[in-house]
Protein backbone atom coordinates (compact mmCIF):
# COMPACT_ATOMS: atom_id res chain seq x y z
CA UNK A 1 0.00 0.00 0.00
CA UNK A 2 1.35 3.45 -0.78
CA UNK A 3 1.92 6.30 1.60
CA UNK A 4 -1.08 8.42 0.73
CA UNK A 5 -3.46 5.52 1.40
CA UNK A 6 -1.84 5.05 4.80
CA UNK A 7 -2.16 8.76 5.49
CA UNK A 8 -5.86 8.61 4.68
CA UNK A 9 -6.44 5.57 6.90
CA UNK A 10 -4.47 7.14 9.74
CA UNK A 11 -6.37 10.42 9.38
CA UNK A 12 -9.68 8.58 9.54
CA UNK A 13 -8.63 6.63 12.63
CA UNK A 14 -7.44 9.74 14.44
CA UNK A 15 -10.62 11.66 13.61
CA UNK A 16 -12.62 8.71 14.97
CA UNK A 17 -10.52 8.69 18.14
CA UNK A 18 -11.08 12.43 18.60
CA UNK A 19 -14.82 11.95 18.09
CA UNK A 20 -14.94 9.10 20.62
CA UNK A 21 -13.09 11.25 23.15
CA UNK A 22 -15.75 13.96 23.05
CA UNK A 23 -18.68 11.62 22.50
CA UNK A 24 -19.37 11.37 26.27
CA UNK A 25 -19.87 15.14 26.36
CA UNK A 26 -22.44 15.01 23.57
CA UNK A 27 -24.23 12.13 25.29
CA UNK A 28 -24.26 14.20 28.46
CA UNK A 29 -25.80 17.20 26.68
CA UNK A 30 -28.38 15.19 24.73
CA UNK A 31 -29.41 13.07 27.71
CA UNK A 32 -29.83 16.10 29.95
CA UNK A 33 -32.60 17.21 27.58
CA UNK A 34 -34.54 13.95 27.75
CA UNK A 35 -37.49 13.21 30.04
CA UNK A 36 -36.54 10.74 32.81
CA UNK A 37 -38.29 7.76 31.17
CA UNK A 38 -36.18 8.14 28.06
CA UNK A 39 -32.98 8.55 30.09
CA UNK A 40 -33.39 5.11 31.64
CA UNK A 41 -34.23 3.51 28.33
CA UNK A 42 -31.74 5.12 25.96
CA UNK A 43 -32.81 3.43 22.71
CA UNK A 44 -32.34 6.72 20.91
CA UNK A 45 -29.24 8.82 21.28
CA UNK A 46 -31.12 11.95 20.25
CA UNK A 47 -34.12 12.72 22.50
CA UNK A 48 -37.48 11.77 21.03
CA UNK A 49 -39.03 14.37 23.28
CA UNK A 50 -36.88 17.44 23.91
CA UNK A 51 -37.38 19.01 27.30
CA UNK A 52 -35.72 21.57 29.53
CA UNK A 53 -37.53 20.27 32.61
CA UNK A 54 -34.30 18.98 34.17
CA UNK A 55 -32.79 22.45 33.92
CA UNK A 56 -35.93 24.11 35.24
CA UNK A 57 -35.92 21.77 38.19
CA UNK A 58 -32.24 22.44 38.99
CA UNK A 59 -32.54 26.19 38.79
CA UNK A 60 -35.65 26.03 40.96
CA UNK A 61 -33.85 24.30 43.86
CA UNK A 62 -33.45 26.54 46.81
CA UNK A 63 -32.72 24.90 50.13
CA UNK A 64 -31.21 21.46 49.68
CA UNK A 65 -29.25 22.22 46.52
CA UNK A 66 -28.86 25.95 45.83
CA UNK A 67 -27.36 25.56 42.39
CA UNK A 68 -27.28 29.28 41.56
CA UNK A 69 -25.54 29.98 44.83
CA UNK A 70 -22.87 27.30 44.15
CA UNK A 71 -22.34 28.78 40.73
CA UNK A 72 -21.82 32.30 42.05
CA UNK A 73 -19.55 30.95 44.84
CA UNK A 74 -17.40 29.28 42.19
CA UNK A 75 -17.27 32.38 39.99
CA UNK A 76 -16.36 34.62 42.93
CA UNK A 77 -13.76 32.27 44.43
CA UNK A 78 -12.05 31.42 41.13
CA UNK A 79 -11.91 35.10 40.09
CA UNK A 80 -10.53 36.19 43.46
CA UNK A 81 -7.92 33.40 43.44
CA UNK A 82 -6.87 34.34 39.90
CA UNK A 83 -6.51 38.02 40.78
CA UNK A 84 -4.64 37.24 44.02
CA UNK A 85 -2.26 34.78 42.39
CA UNK A 86 -1.43 37.23 39.58
CA UNK A 87 -0.82 40.21 41.87
CA UNK A 88 1.23 38.33 44.50
CA UNK A 89 3.20 36.26 41.96
CA UNK A 90 3.94 39.17 39.61
CA UNK A 91 5.13 41.39 42.47
CA UNK A 92 7.22 38.57 43.92
CA UNK A 93 8.79 37.61 40.60
CA UNK A 94 9.52 41.29 39.91
CA UNK A 95 11.31 41.61 43.27
CA UNK A 96 13.35 38.46 42.69
CA UNK A 97 14.24 38.81 39.01
CA UNK A 98 14.20 42.56 38.27
CA UNK A 99 15.00 44.18 41.63
CA UNK A 100 17.21 41.20 42.56
CA UNK A 101 16.51 41.19 46.30
CA UNK A 102 19.25 39.41 48.28
CA UNK A 103 18.37 35.75 48.82
CA UNK A 104 15.82 35.83 45.99
CA UNK A 105 17.38 32.89 44.17
CA UNK A 106 17.42 30.76 47.29
CA UNK A 107 13.81 31.69 48.03
CA UNK A 108 12.80 30.61 44.54
CA UNK A 109 14.60 27.31 45.13
CA UNK A 110 12.60 26.83 48.32
CA UNK A 111 9.35 27.57 46.47
CA UNK A 112 10.18 25.01 43.77
CA UNK A 113 11.11 22.46 46.44
CA UNK A 114 7.79 23.01 48.21
CA UNK A 115 5.94 22.24 44.97
CA UNK A 116 7.11 18.61 45.27
CA UNK A 117 5.14 18.10 48.49
CA UNK A 118 1.86 16.31 47.73
CA UNK A 119 -1.35 18.23 48.37
CA UNK A 120 -2.68 15.72 50.93
CA UNK A 121 0.07 16.71 53.35
CA UNK A 122 -1.38 20.22 53.60
CA UNK A 123 -4.97 19.17 54.32
CA UNK A 124 -4.75 18.49 58.05
CA UNK A 125 -2.51 21.42 59.05
CA UNK A 126 -4.33 23.88 56.79
CA UNK A 127 -7.61 22.81 58.33
CA UNK A 128 -6.24 23.58 61.80
CA UNK A 129 -4.68 26.90 60.71
CA UNK A 130 -7.88 27.99 58.96
CA UNK A 131 -9.88 27.02 62.00
CA UNK A 132 -7.64 29.19 64.23
CA UNK A 133 -8.16 32.08 61.79
CA UNK A 134 -11.95 31.41 61.89
CA UNK A 135 -11.91 31.14 58.11
CA UNK A 136 -13.41 27.66 57.81
CA UNK A 137 -16.64 27.65 55.83
CA UNK A 138 -15.86 31.10 54.37
CA UNK A 139 -14.55 31.92 50.87
CA UNK A 140 -11.29 33.18 52.45
CA UNK A 141 -10.37 29.56 53.23
CA UNK A 142 -10.23 28.80 49.52
CA UNK A 143 -8.89 32.16 48.30
CA UNK A 144 -6.04 33.27 50.56
CA UNK A 145 -4.02 30.00 50.83
CA UNK A 146 -4.21 29.66 47.03
CA UNK A 147 -2.10 32.83 46.64
CA UNK A 148 0.86 30.93 48.14
CA UNK A 149 0.98 28.47 45.24
CA UNK A 150 4.43 28.15 43.66
CA UNK A 151 3.48 27.73 40.02
CA UNK A 152 2.68 31.39 39.30
CA UNK A 153 5.79 32.97 40.81
CA UNK A 154 7.99 30.26 39.25
CA UNK A 155 6.49 30.75 35.80
CA UNK A 156 6.63 34.57 35.90
CA UNK A 157 10.21 34.45 37.22
CA UNK A 158 11.24 32.35 34.24
CA UNK A 159 9.55 34.85 31.94
CA UNK A 160 11.07 37.93 33.60
CA UNK A 161 14.53 36.40 33.57
CA UNK A 162 14.48 36.42 29.78
CA UNK A 163 13.72 40.13 29.59
CA UNK A 164 16.83 42.26 28.83
CA UNK A 165 18.20 44.28 31.80
CA UNK A 166 18.53 47.35 29.57
CA UNK A 167 14.81 47.93 30.06
CA UNK A 168 15.27 48.79 33.73
CA UNK A 169 18.43 50.78 33.18
CA UNK A 170 16.60 53.01 30.72
CA UNK A 171 13.69 53.41 33.11
CA UNK A 172 15.98 54.29 36.02
CA UNK A 173 17.78 56.91 33.92
CA UNK A 174 14.38 58.41 33.13
CA UNK A 175 13.79 58.66 36.88
CA UNK A 176 11.14 55.93 37.19
CA UNK A 177 10.43 54.55 40.64
CA UNK A 178 10.36 50.74 40.96
CA UNK A 179 6.58 50.91 41.30
CA UNK A 180 6.24 52.86 38.05
CA UNK A 181 8.63 50.45 36.38
CA UNK A 182 6.51 47.51 37.56
CA UNK A 183 3.21 48.99 36.45
CA UNK A 184 4.22 50.60 33.18
CA UNK A 185 6.96 48.31 31.91
CA UNK A 186 7.20 44.89 33.47
CA UNK A 187 3.48 44.11 33.67
CA UNK A 188 2.69 45.05 30.05
CA UNK A 189 5.72 43.08 28.84
CA UNK A 190 4.57 40.06 30.85
CA UNK A 191 1.03 40.20 29.51
CA UNK A 192 1.25 36.93 27.50
CA UNK A 193 2.64 34.99 30.49
CA UNK A 194 0.11 36.58 32.84
CA UNK A 195 -2.83 35.69 30.63
CA UNK A 196 -1.66 32.05 30.44
CA UNK A 197 -1.25 32.03 34.22
CA UNK A 198 -4.73 33.54 34.61
CA UNK A 199 -6.34 30.86 32.44
CA UNK A 200 -4.61 28.01 34.28
CA UNK A 201 -5.26 29.47 37.73
CA UNK A 202 -8.93 30.04 37.00
CA UNK A 203 -9.43 26.52 35.66
CA UNK A 204 -7.47 24.97 38.53
CA UNK A 205 -9.48 26.85 41.12
CA UNK A 206 -12.81 26.16 39.39
CA UNK A 207 -12.00 22.44 39.32
CA UNK A 208 -10.54 22.22 42.85
CA UNK A 209 -12.29 19.40 44.65
CA UNK A 210 -10.47 18.53 47.87
CA UNK A 211 -10.20 22.10 49.20
CA UNK A 212 -13.91 22.94 49.23
CA UNK A 213 -14.77 19.37 50.28
CA UNK A 214 -12.66 19.70 53.44
CA UNK A 215 -12.86 23.41 54.29
CA UNK A 216 -16.53 24.14 53.51
CA UNK A 217 -19.24 22.92 55.78
CA UNK A 218 -22.61 24.45 54.98
CA UNK A 219 -24.36 23.45 51.79
CA UNK A 220 -24.83 27.05 50.67
CA UNK A 221 -21.08 27.69 50.84
CA UNK A 222 -20.05 24.81 48.57
CA UNK A 223 -18.45 25.44 45.23
CA UNK A 224 -20.02 23.97 42.14
CA UNK A 225 -18.00 20.72 41.82
CA UNK A 226 -18.45 19.74 45.46
CA UNK A 227 -22.08 20.81 45.46
CA UNK A 228 -23.01 18.69 42.46
CA UNK A 229 -20.83 15.76 43.62
CA UNK A 230 -22.53 15.57 47.01
CA UNK A 231 -25.91 16.19 45.43
CA UNK A 232 -25.27 13.28 43.08
CA UNK A 233 -24.92 10.98 46.10
CA UNK A 234 -28.57 11.39 46.96
CA UNK A 235 -29.99 11.48 43.42
CA UNK A 236 -27.51 9.30 41.65
CA UNK A 237 -29.97 7.32 39.58
CA UNK A 238 -31.76 10.42 38.31
CA UNK A 239 -29.29 10.80 35.51
CA UNK A 240 -31.29 13.44 33.65
CA UNK A 241 -30.89 15.77 36.62
CA UNK A 242 -27.28 15.02 37.53
CA UNK A 243 -26.20 15.25 33.89
CA UNK A 244 -27.94 18.62 33.58
CA UNK A 245 -26.01 19.92 36.61
CA UNK A 246 -22.83 18.70 34.92
CA UNK A 247 -23.66 20.49 31.68
CA UNK A 248 -24.15 23.75 33.58
CA UNK A 249 -20.92 23.18 35.54
CA UNK A 250 -18.74 22.61 32.46
CA UNK A 251 -20.20 25.32 30.23
CA UNK A 252 -17.99 28.14 31.60
CA UNK A 253 -14.91 25.93 31.16
CA UNK A 254 -15.84 25.02 27.61
CA UNK A 255 -16.21 28.73 26.82
CA UNK A 256 -12.75 29.41 28.27
CA UNK A 257 -11.33 26.46 26.36
CA UNK A 258 -12.87 27.65 23.10
CA UNK A 259 -11.40 31.13 23.61
CA UNK A 260 -7.92 30.13 24.83
CA UNK A 261 -7.57 26.71 23.20
CA UNK A 262 -4.28 27.51 21.48
CA UNK A 263 -2.70 28.96 24.62
CA UNK A 264 -3.86 26.09 26.83
CA UNK A 265 -2.72 23.34 24.48
CA UNK A 266 0.66 24.93 23.74
CA UNK A 267 1.42 25.48 27.45
CA UNK A 268 0.58 21.83 28.01
CA UNK A 269 2.89 20.93 25.12
CA UNK A 270 5.75 23.01 26.54
CA UNK A 271 5.54 21.42 30.01
CA UNK A 272 7.49 18.35 28.87
CA UNK A 273 10.21 20.28 27.07
CA UNK A 274 12.38 21.32 29.99
CA UNK A 275 15.52 19.28 30.42
Amino acid sequence: MNRSVWKTINGTIMRTVATLMILPLFLMLLTSMKPEAEVLNPENVVPRVWTLSNYQQILGWAEEAPFGRWFSNSVFISSAVTLGVIVFSAMGAFAIKRLRVPGGRQFLGLIIGSMMVPGQLFLVPLYLILSKLHWLDTPAALIVPATAGGFGIYMLSQFMEDMPPAIEEAALIDGCSPAQMFLHQTLPLCAPAISTLAVFTFIGSWNDFMGPLVFMDSVRNYTLPVGIALYQTSYYTEYGLTLATSVLAVTPLLVIFALFQRQIVSSMAASGLKD
Binding site: M14, Q120, A148, P178, A229, A249, A269, L273
Partner: protein, 284 residues
Protein backbone atom coordinates in the same frame (compact mmCIF):
# COMPACT_ATOMS: atom_id res chain seq x y z
CA UNK B 1 15.96 50.00 46.14
CA UNK B 2 16.48 46.86 48.21
CA UNK B 3 13.84 47.87 50.68
CA UNK B 4 11.38 48.36 47.82
CA UNK B 5 12.36 44.90 46.63
CA UNK B 6 11.38 43.36 49.94
CA UNK B 7 8.12 45.32 49.92
CA UNK B 8 7.28 43.82 46.54
CA UNK B 9 8.15 40.34 47.74
CA UNK B 10 6.34 40.70 51.08
CA UNK B 11 2.74 39.78 50.12
CA UNK B 12 3.79 36.51 48.48
CA UNK B 13 6.41 35.74 51.13
CA UNK B 14 3.91 36.22 54.00
CA UNK B 15 1.32 34.04 52.27
CA UNK B 16 3.98 31.41 51.51
CA UNK B 17 5.18 31.40 55.13
CA UNK B 18 1.67 30.99 56.57
CA UNK B 19 0.12 28.62 54.03
CA UNK B 20 3.08 26.54 52.81
CA UNK B 21 5.93 26.54 55.35
CA UNK B 22 3.80 26.65 58.50
CA UNK B 23 1.53 23.76 57.38
CA UNK B 24 4.56 21.60 56.56
CA UNK B 25 5.99 22.26 60.03
CA UNK B 26 2.62 21.77 61.75
CA UNK B 27 2.02 18.56 59.85
CA UNK B 28 5.44 17.22 60.84
CA UNK B 29 4.89 18.04 64.53
CA UNK B 30 1.32 16.66 64.45
CA UNK B 31 2.57 13.37 63.06
CA UNK B 32 4.26 12.74 66.43
CA UNK B 33 1.16 13.73 68.37
CA UNK B 34 -2.11 12.29 69.39
CA UNK B 35 -4.51 15.01 68.29
CA UNK B 36 -8.13 13.93 68.02
CA UNK B 37 -10.62 16.70 67.35
CA UNK B 38 -13.26 14.70 69.18
CA UNK B 39 -11.31 14.64 72.46
CA UNK B 40 -8.96 17.62 72.52
CA UNK B 41 -7.94 17.01 76.11
CA UNK B 42 -6.04 13.92 75.11
CA UNK B 43 -3.67 15.86 72.80
CA UNK B 44 -0.05 15.13 73.49
CA UNK B 45 3.21 13.82 72.10
CA UNK B 46 3.34 10.10 71.47
CA UNK B 47 6.67 9.77 69.69
CA UNK B 48 6.61 7.40 66.76
CA UNK B 49 3.32 5.75 67.76
CA UNK B 50 1.39 7.07 64.75
CA UNK B 51 3.98 5.74 62.34
CA UNK B 52 4.11 2.41 64.15
CA UNK B 53 0.33 2.21 64.09
CA UNK B 54 0.30 2.79 60.32
CA UNK B 55 2.77 -0.01 59.71
CA UNK B 56 0.52 -2.42 61.63
CA UNK B 57 -2.74 -1.04 60.23
CA UNK B 58 -4.33 -3.43 57.73
CA UNK B 59 -6.48 -0.59 56.35
CA UNK B 60 -3.34 1.41 55.65
CA UNK B 61 -1.72 -1.48 53.78
CA UNK B 62 -4.87 -2.18 51.81
CA UNK B 63 -4.87 1.54 50.85
CA UNK B 64 -1.21 1.28 49.80
CA UNK B 65 -2.08 -1.77 47.74
CA UNK B 66 -4.97 0.03 46.02
CA UNK B 67 -2.74 3.05 45.34
CA UNK B 68 0.03 0.90 43.83
CA UNK B 69 -2.49 -1.07 41.78
CA UNK B 70 -3.96 2.14 40.39
CA UNK B 71 -0.52 3.56 39.56
CA UNK B 72 0.61 0.25 38.02
CA UNK B 73 -2.35 0.35 35.62
CA UNK B 74 -2.66 4.07 34.87
CA UNK B 75 1.03 4.83 34.18
CA UNK B 76 1.62 2.26 31.40
CA UNK B 77 -1.92 2.89 30.15
CA UNK B 78 -1.31 6.60 29.71
CA UNK B 79 2.15 6.02 28.23
CA UNK B 80 1.07 3.45 25.63
CA UNK B 81 -2.23 5.07 24.63
CA UNK B 82 -0.75 8.58 24.80
CA UNK B 83 2.19 7.56 22.60
CA UNK B 84 -0.10 5.83 20.08
CA UNK B 85 -2.25 8.95 19.89
CA UNK B 86 0.81 11.17 19.52
CA UNK B 87 2.19 9.02 16.67
CA UNK B 88 -1.21 9.04 14.98
CA UNK B 89 -1.66 12.80 15.26
CA UNK B 90 1.93 13.41 14.13
CA UNK B 91 1.33 11.37 10.96
CA UNK B 92 -1.80 13.31 10.03
CA UNK B 93 -1.65 15.33 6.84
CA UNK B 94 -4.38 17.77 7.86
CA UNK B 95 -6.46 18.61 10.91
CA UNK B 96 -3.77 18.06 13.57
CA UNK B 97 -4.65 21.13 15.62
CA UNK B 98 -8.32 20.20 15.84
CA UNK B 99 -7.64 16.58 16.89
CA UNK B 100 -5.05 17.78 19.41
CA UNK B 101 -7.59 20.12 21.01
CA UNK B 102 -10.39 17.54 21.05
CA UNK B 103 -8.38 14.77 22.72
CA UNK B 104 -7.31 17.27 25.39
CA UNK B 105 -10.84 18.52 26.05
CA UNK B 106 -11.85 15.90 28.69
CA UNK B 107 -8.91 17.06 30.82
CA UNK B 108 -10.68 20.39 31.26
CA UNK B 109 -13.57 18.82 33.18
CA UNK B 110 -13.47 18.61 36.94
CA UNK B 111 -13.61 15.30 38.73
CA UNK B 112 -17.21 15.84 39.87
CA UNK B 113 -18.49 16.13 36.31
CA UNK B 114 -16.22 13.35 35.08
CA UNK B 115 -17.41 11.12 37.89
CA UNK B 116 -21.11 11.84 37.36
CA UNK B 117 -20.73 11.07 33.67
CA UNK B 118 -18.92 7.75 34.16
CA UNK B 119 -21.11 6.75 37.06
CA UNK B 120 -23.92 6.87 34.52
CA UNK B 121 -21.89 4.79 32.03
CA UNK B 122 -20.85 2.18 34.60
CA UNK B 123 -24.01 1.76 36.69
CA UNK B 124 -24.90 -1.94 36.80
CA UNK B 125 -28.67 -1.56 36.51
CA UNK B 126 -29.28 1.70 34.67
CA UNK B 127 -25.89 2.38 33.12
CA UNK B 128 -25.25 3.08 29.48
CA UNK B 129 -22.56 0.41 29.05
CA UNK B 130 -24.77 -2.38 30.33
CA UNK B 131 -27.70 -1.06 28.34
CA UNK B 132 -25.56 -1.42 25.22
CA UNK B 133 -24.25 -4.85 26.27
CA UNK B 134 -27.76 -6.15 26.97
CA UNK B 135 -28.83 -4.81 23.61
CA UNK B 136 -26.34 -7.20 22.02
CA UNK B 137 -27.57 -10.09 24.12
CA UNK B 138 -24.83 -10.02 26.76
CA UNK B 139 -25.55 -10.04 30.47
CA UNK B 140 -23.80 -6.83 31.36
CA UNK B 141 -20.98 -6.38 33.85
CA UNK B 142 -21.04 -5.30 37.50
CA UNK B 143 -18.53 -2.55 36.58
CA UNK B 144 -18.23 -0.86 39.94
CA UNK B 145 -19.60 -3.40 42.40
CA UNK B 146 -17.26 -6.28 41.57
CA UNK B 147 -13.75 -6.29 43.02
CA UNK B 148 -12.23 -7.48 39.76
CA UNK B 149 -13.83 -4.73 37.67
CA UNK B 150 -13.89 -1.72 40.01
CA UNK B 151 -10.26 -0.61 39.75
CA UNK B 152 -9.97 -1.20 35.98
CA UNK B 153 -13.15 0.86 35.58
CA UNK B 154 -11.64 3.72 37.58
CA UNK B 155 -8.48 3.44 35.45
CA UNK B 156 -10.53 3.51 32.24
CA UNK B 157 -12.24 6.73 33.31
CA UNK B 158 -8.92 8.25 34.38
CA UNK B 159 -7.30 7.41 31.04
CA UNK B 160 -10.14 9.15 29.20
CA UNK B 161 -9.82 12.11 31.54
CA UNK B 162 -6.05 12.68 31.30
CA UNK B 163 -4.59 10.92 28.25
CA UNK B 164 -4.95 14.03 26.05
CA UNK B 165 -2.34 15.89 28.10
CA UNK B 166 0.10 12.97 27.85
CA UNK B 167 -0.48 12.72 24.10
CA UNK B 168 0.19 16.44 23.59
CA UNK B 169 3.46 16.34 25.57
CA UNK B 170 4.67 13.31 23.57
CA UNK B 171 3.48 14.83 20.28
CA UNK B 172 5.51 17.98 20.92
CA UNK B 173 8.60 15.87 21.59
CA UNK B 174 7.99 13.88 18.39
CA UNK B 175 7.83 17.08 16.40
CA UNK B 176 11.21 18.14 17.81
CA UNK B 177 13.00 15.16 16.23
CA UNK B 178 14.83 16.50 13.16
CA UNK B 179 13.34 15.06 9.95
CA UNK B 180 16.79 14.42 8.49
CA UNK B 181 17.35 11.49 10.89
CA UNK B 182 14.45 9.67 9.24
CA UNK B 183 15.52 10.74 5.76
CA UNK B 184 19.01 9.36 6.31
CA UNK B 185 17.63 6.11 7.73
CA UNK B 186 15.22 5.79 4.79
CA UNK B 187 18.15 6.20 2.36
CA UNK B 188 19.86 3.32 4.16
CA UNK B 189 16.71 1.27 3.58
CA UNK B 190 15.53 1.11 7.20
CA UNK B 191 11.94 -0.05 7.73
CA UNK B 192 9.40 2.11 9.57
CA UNK B 193 9.54 -0.30 12.53
CA UNK B 194 13.34 -0.07 12.72
CA UNK B 195 13.21 3.73 12.56
CA UNK B 196 10.68 3.74 15.39
CA UNK B 197 12.86 1.46 17.53
CA UNK B 198 16.21 3.07 16.82
CA UNK B 199 15.38 6.74 16.27
CA UNK B 200 11.99 7.67 17.72
CA UNK B 201 12.03 5.68 20.97
CA UNK B 202 15.59 6.58 22.08
CA UNK B 203 15.04 10.27 21.35
CA UNK B 204 11.69 10.24 23.18
CA UNK B 205 13.19 8.64 26.27
CA UNK B 206 13.69 11.83 28.32
CA UNK B 207 10.12 12.97 27.67
CA UNK B 208 8.77 9.50 28.35
CA UNK B 209 10.54 9.47 31.69
CA UNK B 210 9.04 12.90 32.44
CA UNK B 211 5.60 11.46 31.63
CA UNK B 212 6.17 8.37 33.78
CA UNK B 213 7.35 10.41 36.77
CA UNK B 214 4.56 13.02 36.60
CA UNK B 215 1.79 10.49 36.00
CA UNK B 216 3.06 8.24 38.82
CA UNK B 217 3.15 11.16 41.23
CA UNK B 218 -0.40 12.10 40.24
CA UNK B 219 -1.44 8.42 40.38
CA UNK B 220 -0.13 7.98 43.93
CA UNK B 221 -2.39 10.85 44.99
CA UNK B 222 -5.54 9.42 43.41
CA UNK B 223 -8.56 10.54 45.39
CA UNK B 224 -11.43 12.11 43.46
CA UNK B 225 -11.83 9.31 40.91
CA UNK B 226 -12.53 6.59 43.48
CA UNK B 227 -14.43 9.04 45.69
CA UNK B 228 -16.84 9.77 42.85
CA UNK B 229 -17.23 6.27 41.38
CA UNK B 230 -17.01 3.79 44.24
CA UNK B 231 -16.37 5.78 47.47
CA UNK B 232 -13.46 3.34 47.84
CA UNK B 233 -15.50 0.14 47.56
CA UNK B 234 -16.28 -2.66 47.05
CA UNK B 235 -14.80 -3.85 50.35
CA UNK B 236 -12.38 -0.88 50.31
CA UNK B 237 -10.59 -2.40 47.32
CA UNK B 238 -10.34 0.98 45.56
CA UNK B 239 -9.69 3.19 48.59
CA UNK B 240 -6.26 4.75 48.07
CA UNK B 241 -3.97 6.27 50.69
CA UNK B 242 -5.18 9.81 49.96
CA UNK B 243 -8.78 8.83 50.64
CA UNK B 244 -7.83 6.94 53.81
CA UNK B 245 -5.98 10.04 55.05
CA UNK B 246 -9.04 12.17 54.26
CA UNK B 247 -11.35 9.81 56.12
CA UNK B 248 -9.02 9.40 59.10
CA UNK B 249 -8.65 13.16 59.53
CA UNK B 250 -12.12 14.41 58.64
CA UNK B 251 -14.48 11.53 59.39
CA UNK B 252 -12.70 10.00 62.40
CA UNK B 253 -11.08 13.36 63.32
CA UNK B 254 -7.72 11.72 64.06
CA UNK B 255 -5.51 14.58 62.88
CA UNK B 256 -2.20 13.23 64.19
CA UNK B 257 -2.63 9.84 62.56
CA UNK B 258 -3.77 11.49 59.31
CA UNK B 259 -0.66 13.71 59.32
CA UNK B 260 1.66 10.74 59.91
CA UNK B 261 0.12 8.83 57.01
CA UNK B 262 0.49 11.85 54.72
CA UNK B 263 4.25 11.85 55.45
CA UNK B 264 4.36 8.14 54.64
CA UNK B 265 2.59 8.87 51.34
CA UNK B 266 5.12 11.63 50.63
CA UNK B 267 7.94 9.16 51.38
CA UNK B 268 6.39 6.59 49.02
CA UNK B 269 6.11 9.20 46.25
CA UNK B 270 9.70 10.41 46.78
CA UNK B 271 11.16 6.90 46.77
CA UNK B 272 9.36 6.02 43.55
CA UNK B 273 10.26 9.37 42.01
CA UNK B 274 13.98 8.93 42.71
CA UNK B 275 13.91 5.26 41.72
CA UNK B 276 12.21 6.02 38.42
CA UNK B 277 14.53 8.88 37.54
CA UNK B 278 17.52 6.58 38.20
CA UNK B 279 16.04 3.77 36.10
CA UNK B 280 15.31 6.08 33.20
CA UNK B 281 18.77 7.70 33.27
CA UNK B 282 20.57 4.38 32.94
CA UNK B 283 21.82 4.11 29.36
CA UNK B 284 19.93 1.52 27.33
Amino acid sequence: MQRTGFLFLAPYAVSFAIFVILPIVVSFVLSFMRFDLTAQSSAGFVGLDNYKEALHDNYFWSAVKATLLFAAMIVPGLLVIGLSMALGINAMARGRAAVRALVFLPGMLNIAVTGILWQWFFNGEFGLFNFALKHFGSQGQPWLSDKAFAMPSIVLMSVWWTVGGTAIILLTALQQIPGMYFEAAALDGASTMRMFRHITLPLLKPVMSFVVVTTSIAGFQMFGQAFMLTRGGPELSTRGVAQYIYETAFNSYRMGYGAAMSWLLFALISVFGIFQIRMMRRPA
